[in-house]
Symmetry: C2
Subunit: 451 residues, 2 copies
């Protein structure tokens, strides 16, 4: 167990720092300083610290954890590794929301135009589908012509013109995160709360926002299965946001069942548009309004969350949110007529209904498996290179708590890839538990952290 | 915290294994199976698992530990990644000893010829100097012409002809260890007992030996400072040896002071030759005899350790060990006349005496710093590329427990590099603590593990 002789050379000056000493410090449970974290993150962004040292450090962080202060320093360093957009010249606050990912979660498509219509700016940088969950960018691309690969100038122009804009992570945004995220994926260090927090936050803060609403999903269809895990991450996210000077709140929301009824890219755009017409499923409508309300409130556009809710509902009822969405679709090259004509969305050639074998109540849904069935049909990617089938997906007819009679439809499968239909149906057949007794209803919003 | 969707693909068959799943299992404190460990070690040897995954796994092992069973499996897999020498045709047992490294430890140069003279085979694969400690290969190369870079065929020929042979790790021996060791050095994963054990053992077992004696150094000049750490490693080494079917014992020996009096490559060869002439310092002579005795006993050449001691002493007194050493030096291309004529060893141009400032007893020595002073003079390497000065080093005149009067020599510095003399002297000046009261004597051999 040779203590490295060169250890003596390590000082507090970056010029004399060595990655191995910082890895050792974290391995032994130490707390890294601002300079030390900056050294590693800078090394990740500029390529001066090799992959093998970064991944040893990531594993040490995963095993030993990071303090709240360290997590904030890591977030700031990762943010600082790239460009931060400056929308300070705009006349109103900039707000955004981030979801940790779930099945059927198309709230971004609704809340961005609602909040923009209410007079705030929503510069939304989103991701692609991951695992069994969909991604906002993939969904938007189901609209013919919609471009998400905007340059920073185009993004700014869309934001100024429409009040909201949808983009993906550009090479300029948090390049350290890009490198570290790729490593985490292959080194079993994805699960560290500190690393999750810094990764999420560094990208969101690059939007130059003033306030941020987190939607932390918990349950079978979420990445965090237990409420405890979700609350812990929510507290870390909100604390980190506050440490870096942002207003923030986190909603812990139910993901034991899909959100809304539709899963799959075009299907989710369709359902989002239904919400913007005031006709969406109750759970999805309610969550969109609450998320938008918090964004409006934290953005200083309402004196209370209640007032924010009324404002959000008004934006939907008046059609102003729909107008905003129409404008941003057009601005980003998409066919904006889709807002008023859902038949302009891609539609699958085949539909297959899956029916209940017995009567009773739906008491449990294998929500993750339902999401995965949509991926199998082409609604998501199993490998990064896979192409998406925008029309493929699943429409759920019965959800937890619903009464069902034998022979009634449980869900419908929308498919083009016939060769994958069997696998998807097989997955779905074991995804609904029907029992004689109605289950207890669980609330959609389980807790609010940081309010 | 996405659970990797591809996790479902991981099975027990190597074809379906993925490194990331094994890293995750270890990260979560799981125990890897034989197949799983083989997959990673094989991937290290063949280059099919990338550095960044290996280093994440090494860090997970360092943080979570390995069970005894896993450590043995890791040892076997690393051994199996390369060639294992087969000396089964030789008429006697093959034995070796391994030291965890200390200051002034030249026992290998003595015990190999002693044990070979006693009728056993000692196929000794050694290393270079590391940090503040010297290496057997560097010491042997202080003998003019001595070649340590033997091919396997040359190594075998030397062993057959002389009963012992000295070589370095060849590319054929434990290639997985070579890759993992290089990574450990730069990822702060050197200190894991399981990794230390597997690294040591895989190289030693490649010698095709039947029994192994460990000399686990503890104290200021050792890599393990506390006896507790030393005992833990010793128990792991002995247990692992037994699990893979080898006889083994570990001596926990004192390294709070240098072993013998001479530190530096030629100086240590000189002192080893003094021991072989029956005239070496007491501590060094005693340890060499005990180590040789255990090797002789475990090799089945004596009925007891006591009898082994008598045999070892007889090999020295009769000059037979010296004859063996002379033979092996000649066999490996070295100037064997050095055995009878110490002036044939390289000698430094300058000598500087450091004297005691006050009278009393030496109560403490900064043993590691003394070793490092020898490195500074050129006796070791600060960087891998540095050249060794075989003549440079330090001769200690007073050790812990010795009475000393002000003005008496504490040590002598042998140097060629005048520009480094100042630094070395400065290090040595703070390396001796002299107090009025004599310290308690501590035993040279603190414990024996596995006897």
């Amino acid at each position: 167990m040779p203590p490295d002789p060169r250890l003596l050379m390590a000082g507090s000056s970056p010029a004399l720092m060595r990655a191995v000493d910082l890895i050792r410090k974290k391995r032994d449970g130490g707390e890294l300083t601002r300079d030390e974290i900056a050294f590693l993150v800078d090394g990740a962004a500029r390529g001066t610290v090799p992959d093998y040292q970064l991944s040893a450090w990531l594993m040490a962080v995963t095993c030993r954890g990071m303090s709240r202060a360290e997590t904030a320093l890591l977030t700031e360093a990762m943010l600082g590794s790239g460009e931060v957009m400056d929308f300070s010249a705009l006349g109103a606050a900039k707000v955004d929301k981030h979801s940790t990912g779930g099945v059927g979660d198309k709230t971004s498509l609704v809340v961005a135009p609602v909040v923009a219509a209410a007079g705030l700016y929503v510069p939304m940088i989103s991701g692609r589908g991951l695992g069994h969950t969909g991604g906002t960018l993939d969904k938007l691309e189901a609209i013919r012509g919609f471009r998400v690969d905007l340059s920073l100038a185009e993004f700014r122009a869309a934001l100024e013109a429409c009040g909201c804009a949808f983009g993906g992570q550009t090479p300029e945004i948090a390049p350290a995160d890009k490198r570290l995220y790729a490593l985490r994926d292959v080194t079993a260090t994805v699960e560290s709360p500190a690393l999750i927090c810094a990764s999420i936050m560094s990208k969101k803060l690059a939007e130059g926002i003033d306030a941020l609403v987190f939607d932390v999903k918990v349950g079978d269809g979420a990445f965090m299965k237990s409420e405890g895990e979700g609350v812990a991450l929510a507290e870390l996210l909100v604390d980190t946001a506050k440490r870096v000077g942002k207003r923030a709140v986190a909603l812990i929301t139910d993901m034991d069942k899909p959100l809304g009824r539709k899963i799959g890219n075009a299907l989710e755009v369709e359902e989002a548009l239904e919400v913007l017409r005031g006709r969406g499923p109750d759970d999805l409508c309610a969550l969109c309004v609450v998320l938008a309300a918090w964004m409006i409130f934290l953005g200083g556009r309402s004196a209370s969350v209640e007032e924010g809710k009324r404002l959000a509902e008004e934006m939907i009822a008046s059609g102003r949110a729909r107008d905003t969405f129409r404008r941003v679709i057009k601005q980003q090259g998409g066919d904006e007529r889709v807002v008023d004509d859902l038949t302009r969305l891609p539609r699958a050639r085949g539909t297959e209904i899956m029916r209940a074998r017995n009567s009773g109540f739906v008491t449990r849904m294998a929500c993750e498996r339902i999401g995965r069935a949509s991926v199998v049909l082409g609604g998501g990617r199993e490998k990064k290179e896979d192409a998406i089938d925008p029309a493929a997906g699943v429409v759920v007819e019965k959800k937890i708590g619903d009464a069902v009679r034998a022979g009634e439809p449980l869900c419908a499968v929308h498919y083009n890839a016939e060769e994958r239909l069997g696998e998807a149906l097989q997955m779905l057949e074991t995804s609904f538990v029907i029992a004689a007794e109605a289950p207890q209803r669980t609330p959609l919003i389980r807790r609010i952290v940081g309010a």
